[in-house]
């Protein structure tokens, strides 16, 4: 046997350049919209300009006559075959779930809903013809705001009889993880502190950069669907489940996908309609949305009213938290739309030890575009509320906001710790992250400067914002999902194919769209199998290749999907070991596997795992009774969530004359467990931070009184540009997760979850001496200016 060079340098932890970049950076990419098929036709949608209406007639004659038009499709035409946009998570058994047809038949429940579609030779001709479809609408009164929806005066779906789809409660007293929150509040009202606040989580638009696109080719034995989706496996399953096409007849491919942030975690009307159109005309059909279609019709995020009551002792020890949410789900209960607010239930208590807790969300329907997961999904909303409240509590007690957090948080000796919400946190060290963040930030010096500016009546005031957050990643143990009535499991699948030439294919059920799985998974397998990084190819996002998978969302890919890859790799090694023992004529007990090579202990005899892969191909010399393959597959169901955490500190300058805010400094120290690739991690952290900061400062979906989206283009929905951002300083502390082999915790959403309250806390801190204790997001210069102007009359709402 030839000796294989031993690999010693570890891949895990190395800032490997991303494999996928070679293509992406040189423009040689496979976006869905790039796909051209012979005879392909194009689709354009006719969308409702009304938020709420009955469709009484559709005249398609003129459109049918238009140049290049092949077919005009209405909801009535495809009612029986089009399938349905499913809700996978009815949060209560009696949840009211309006039927969500991809193309409406006679009732429009929000602006942008699809009423008809045109199939034409080119996209431009299809769009021109779409203008010619004459739809008669009978306008109905629309309900847009979640609070207004509660009393059912105007119904989003008249046939449902109510706007409330579900009321979901978690009570620490009921489940035995804490006391009665009303008792704690009553007690605090007598002898303690009660802080009662209303916060608004404005509606956001995920605004991924790649507009959604779907190509359906119905001409093969299997119908092939390319789609810019985060969830190819879920899409295939739901197409089969709702259209009656056998699952085996559908292949879904998510080629390069340009961002998602939850926004492509959906099975969309556009996908179902493109499928129906292709089946009708029996030709490949492509649909690519415009930006303005994307902003109104891809699902939105957030949109909650939060009513919060925090009870504490006089010295600031929190005794109870009551959370009452009204969550606007939009016009339909989307894929996991009803579950998003529910996911927050375990996070309002965050890193703190509270004596009692009750969480209730009232999920309501309105005549607005549907709302579903957006980066963080439920957890940013929760973190925002509690981190804002902790600042208010510090003010009420009269101590530094860091001190009040320290007084209430779980100390590092206390892990594992079961929280008042019933989660068991396995690991964490809030003290370490906070100490490090304070140091880098120069906390004390900035407090001195803040005081000086106050004393000098400087028109530009300085504020410091804190956010000590945690989140739960790695959705999710299947039994937990089952107990929550979720429609699927939380496992993930991976397979490893050892090719005869010594190269390796890793097949993953996750479906990356910017997270760099091709690189990270290669690093993991390179270390596990001792195969060079370059020799590993990661395949994903194609149901014909990776037949089992639950895709990418909820920071689950590394924690769950990565673990499946580890387990598959370990199975490969186990299988190869049997063969190595045979080839080396040694006993398995005498073998050690180092750097890709099985060696016989104490000798220089050995065989490389790549050679064994070659041997499997010929199978000439193979142990009796052993299958001639060392390929392996693993499906992993997580035992617990993982709980990344961190401390974020933000300094904001506020011009009290104009209301303009400027970020001075932002420091975050996150504990995300073991890091596979720091380059990828930094990118995820920074990208997340900016999305969270953007919620605090710039972004909001605004509707006019008719339910038309006013912020319906990038001119009006203002994403931050590079010049709006500063150099955030990011570091890591590490307390490895104990729930997976790699000790990873998940990083995709941490920045977004933590940064929003840090920024808002900083701005409020800058103007608090003027009598301001809240400003509604986004903190536009005008809102800040108004708050300052109105400050004199603003009631603080405190009941000390």
């Amino acid at each position: 046997m030839t000796a294989v060079a031993e690999r010693t340098a570890l891949e895990i932890g190395a800032p490997r350049k991303r494999k996928e970049d070679q293509r992406l950076i040189t423009g040689r990419t496979r976006w869905t919209d790039n796909i051209q098929l012979p005879g392909m036709l194009h689709l354009a949608m006719v969308r409702s300009p009304f938020a709420h209406a009955n469709v009484t007639a559709i005249d398609t004659e003129a459109a049918k006559q238009a140049e290049g038009v092949v077919a005009v499709i209405t909801g009535a035409d495809i009612a029986a075959t089009q399938g349905a946009c499913a809700n996978a998570w009815p949060v209560t058994t009696d949840q009211k779930t309006p039927a969500h047809l991809p193309m409406v038949v006679d009732h429009v429940a929000c602006t942008g809903e699809i009423v008809a579609a045109i199939v034409a030779r080119t996209a431009a001709l299809a769009r021109d013809a779409a203008e010619l479809v004459d739809v008669t609408y009978e306008e109905l009164p629309a309900v847009l705001d979640a609070k207004e929806a509660v009393d059912d005066t105007v119904l989003a779906h008249p046939d449902l009889g109510t706007n409330t789809t579900a009321v979901w409660t978690l009570d620490s007293a009921g489940q035995g993880t804490g006391g009665h929150v009303d008792d704690a509040i009553a007690e605090a009202r007598v002898d303690g502190i009660v802080i009662e606040r209303d916060y608004r989580q404005q509606r956001l638009i995920p605004a991924f950069m790649e507009p959604r696109s779907t190509v359906v080719d119905p001409t093969g034995e299997q119908i092939t669907i390319w789609s810019s989706t985060q969830v190819p496996h879920i899409l295939r399953f739901l197409i089969a489940a709702t259209t009656g096409i056998p699952e085996s007849k559908v292949r879904v491919i998510a080629p390069d996908v340009g961002g998602g942030f939850g926004g492509k975690l959906q099975t969309t009307p556009e996908e179902f309609i493109t499928l129906a159109a292709a089946r009708q005309v029996r030709k490949p059909v492509k649909y690519t949305e415009t930006r303005s279609e994307s902003l109104v019709s891809a699902h939105h995020g957030r949109d909650q009213y939060q009513h919060l009551t925090l009870a504490a002792t006089k010295d600031g020890t929190v005794t109870g938290l009551k959370v009452e949410l009204i969550a606007n789900l939009g016009a339909y209960v989307a894929l996991v739309g009803g579950g998003v607010p529910v996911l927050g239930a375990w996070m309002f208590n965050s890193i703190y030890k509270f004596g009692s807790y009750r969480f209730t969300t009232r999920n309501v329907l309105t005549n607005t575009p549907w709302v579903d997961a957006y980066r963080g999904a439920g957890r940013p909303e929760a973190t925002y509320a509690i981190e804002r409240l902790m600042d208010e509590l510090a003010v009420a007690v009269g101590v530094d906001p860091l001190a009040i957090r320290e007084q209430n948080w779980i100390t590092h000796e206390e892990f594992p710790f079961t929280t008042v919400a019933g989660m068991t946190y396995d690991s964490g060290n809030y003290e370490a992250a906070t100490a490090r963040a304070k140091e880098i930030f120069g906390y004390d010096a900035l407090r001195v400067e803040q005081k000086r500016r106050r004393d000098d009546l400087d028109p530009v005031q300085l504020g410091i914002g804190i956010s000590t957050f945690t989140e739960m990643c790695g959705l999710a143990p299947s039994r937990v999902l089952g107990s929550l009535n979720y429609g699927a499991g939380g496992w993930e699948n991976a397979a490893i194919r050892m090719l005869p030439t010594g190269k390796v294919e890793v097949i993953t059920g996750t479906s990356p769209h910017g997270q760099g799985h091709e690189t990270a998974w290669s690093q993991i397998v390179a270390d596990r199998l001792g195969i060079p990084f370059e020799d590993i190819e990661v395949l994903h996002g194609d149901t014909a290749v990776s037949s089992r998978g639950l895709d990418t969302y909820g920071s689950r890919s590394l924690v769950v999907g990565g673990e499946a890859v580890v387990r598959a790799a370990d199975k490969v090694v186990e299988k190869a070991k049997v063969v190595a023992a045979h080839l080396l004529e040694a006993s398995e007990a005498d073998l050690e596997f180092v750097g890709g090579r099985f060696g016989v202990k104490g000798t220089d005899k050995g065989v490389g795992i790549a050679e064994i892969a070659t041997a499997a191909f010929t199978s000439h010399n193979w142990p009796e009774g052993v299958e001639p393959s060392i390929d392996a597959e693993a499906t992993y169901d997580p035992v617990n969530f993982s709980f990344p955490h961190g401390t974020h500190l933000c300094a904001m300058e506020v011009d009290t004359e104009t209301g303009a805010t400027t970020m001075r400094k932002y420091v975050c120290v996150d504990d995300i467990g073991q890091i596979i690739n720091p380059l990828i991690v930094e990118g995820q952290v920074h990208g997340g931070l900016v999305q969270g900061i953007a919620q605090a400062l710039w972004e909001e979906a605004v509707f006019d009184d008719n339910g038309t989206l006013v912020t319906g283009s990038f001119v009006d929905y203002t994403l931050p540009t590079s010049a709006d951002t500063i150099n955030y300083e990011s570091e890591h502390t590490t307390s490895p997760s104990t729930t997976n082999t790699l000790g990873t915790k998940g990083v995709g959403e941490a920045g977004t979850i933590a940064s929003t309250p840090a920024v808002v806390n900083a701005v409020v801190d800058a103007v608090r001496h003027l009598g301001i204790n809240d400003i509604r997001m986004p903190l536009s210069p005008e809102r800040v200016w108004r708050a300052i102007r109105d400050a004199g009359s603003a009631a603080t709402g405190d009941t000390p």
Binding site: R23, I25, T29, D33, F208, E682, Q691, V710, P720
Partner: protein, 486 residues
């Protein structure tokens, strides 16, 4: 006439059979160059950014990044275009691509080719000078410039939703100098592509680009309904978003007579077809009020295409140059086959998107009289710091001599159907001492000028208040201590 041809990544591509309404982006993509992409089709996202060879200073060529989604393909006839595919390949990355890969500048990658083109254009900027010493470059204070002289504003027209920009900025600031044998740097030394006359006909209309002003005026006289296309940053949005088509379009962006900039004894004359980037560069701070305006006008990507004539041509009440040019008492030079006439900008606007411009008349130049006032400022309220349209904008030009305001000119945008002069405020200032009290009184008058509207960008109350604050800030920043005291 030859079929229009564009040199793309070194090889010639014909436009034969391409409709004049087809954008450069769609044309490139139809040729399999899918690096540039449509993220919005209205100049906001930069996913469509490409590099084009434009005239540089001193007779050379300058790589300039523009939005391919906004310009008609026909307008690039005779030009040279470079896309991310042409800059490098996976086997041999361009230095910009290499830095982006090393720093993690790409995540989903959708925005990346656009960033690459914007960044490469800045990489080749001839006057990009590394900062001399580390001390001079304080990272804490200057987030917008790299130690290598990289100006972050060159990326302000490119949106990325994934990276948070940090890795992209790191890549930009790590770039070195082009190698001696860098072909793109070499190209800059040679003359820019020659001006060609173009005629492109298709189902929706015809696009014609004459090579002289006289020819353009003749055409315009013959087709008074023609659409003039300069940088196409306004027109491109009309085409893409509102479905506008021009039965007859005249390309005026490269007319030599519209592309001069002369600084004379008592007037500066700016050619109407100069882009805002070109004007910014060529004035080089000579008109401080305009120097303050440029960075707040759209993004560099847009300014690389947008002309000053185009900004005035639409008669839009929220254009950014009118408030500044009103304060500068600029004069518009209108040309037609009947000759030229000068119109003070204050008389140019007659109503909402209405001007004194007659059929067949185009803007040849803008004249700014000299000497300039010493105290100037430009303020614009927008939701985002850069690349955003104005809610309101105000330009100030004051002469303060011996503590007395001898002359005040104030231009306002976004408070009425047309840009206007703040005449009452000017009167409240002129002849008065430049004191805090006078500034406060004038600010109160300024708040009454015009009738700003309410919308989701800003309320009328905020718009008015901000106008006043802008004047107070100008006073606070410019007054001498004695003046502040009073």
């Amino acid at each position: 006439m030859l079929a229009p041809t564009i040199t793309v990544n070194g090889s010639a591509g014909t436009l034969s059979g391409v409709d004049p309404s087809t954008t450069a982006l769609d044309w490139l993509r139809s040729r399999g160059l899918t690096g540039a992409k449509e993220g919005c089709a209205e100049g906001e996202c930069g996913a469509c950014s490409i590099m084009v060879a434009r005239p540089g200073d001193d007779g050379g060529t300058r790589w300039t990044a523009i939005n391919a989604c906004l310009v008609p393909a026909a307008s690039l006839d005779g030009g040279e275009v470079v896309t991310a595919e042409g800059l490098g390949s996976p086997q041999s990355l361009h230095p910009v691509q290499h830095e982006m890969a090393v720093r993690g500048g790409s995540q989903c990658g959708y925005c990346t080719p656009g960033f690459i083109c914007s960044m490469a254009a800045e990489y080749y900027r001839p006057d990009r000078m590394p900062v001399a010493s580390a001390d001079e470059h304080d990272h804490e204070l200057d987030h917008e410039h790299g130690p290598n002289g990289f100006d972050l504003h060159s990326l302000s027209g490119n949106l990325c939703r994934c990276t948070g920009y940090r890795p992209i900025r790191d890549a930009a600031y790590a770039l070195g100098e082009p190698d001696a044998d860098d072909p793109f740097a070499g190209r800059c030394l040679a003359a820019p592509p020659a001006l060609t006359s173009t005629r492109q006909e298709g189902p929706t209309g015809v696009y014609v680009r004459p090579t002289s002003l006289a020819a353009a005026l003749d055409l315009y006289a013959a087709h008074p309904q023609a659409v003039l296309v300069a940088g196409s940053t306004d027109w491109g949005v009309e085409v893409n978003i509102r479905g506008a088509r021009a039965p007859f379009a005249i390309g005026i962006d490269r007319l030599p007579e519209l592309r001069t900039l002369d600084v004379g004894e008592d007037v500066i004359e700016i050619g109407a077809a100069l882009t805002l980037s070109e004007i910014e560069r060529r004035l080089d701070g000579r008109v401080p009020l305009l120097a303050k305006l440029f960075p707040q006008f759209a993004s560099r990507l847009i300014r690389n295409g947008a002309t000053i004539g185009g900004n005035l041509g639409t008669g839009s009440p929220i254009g950014d140059t009118p408030p500044a040019l009103l304060a500068l008492e600029a004069v518009i030079v209108l040309a037609s086959t009947d000759g030229e006439r000068d119109v003070p900008l204050a008389d140019y606007f007659t109503g909402y998107r209405q001007t004194v411009k007659q059929p067949g008349e185009l803007i040849r130049a803008i004249r700014v009289p000299l000497p300039l006032s010493g105290t100037t400022a430009f303020h614009k309220i927008a939701k985002r710091r850069f690349d955003d349209i104005s809610s309101v904008a105000v330009g100030f030009a004051l002469d303060v001599a011996d503590g007395i305001v001898s002359r005040a000119r104030i231009g306002l945008g976004g408070v009425a159907a047309t840009p206007i002069r703040a005449l009452a405020t000017e009167a409240a200032l002129e002849g008065q001492p430049w004191t805090a009290d006078v500034a406060r009184a004038a600010a109160a008058v300024l708040r009454q000028e015009g009738t700003p509207m309410d919308d989701h960008r800003a309320s009328a109350a905020y718009r008015t208040a901000t106008l006043g604050t802008a004047l107070l800030k100008l006073h606070a920043e410019t007054a001498t201590p004695q003046e502040v005291g009073a």
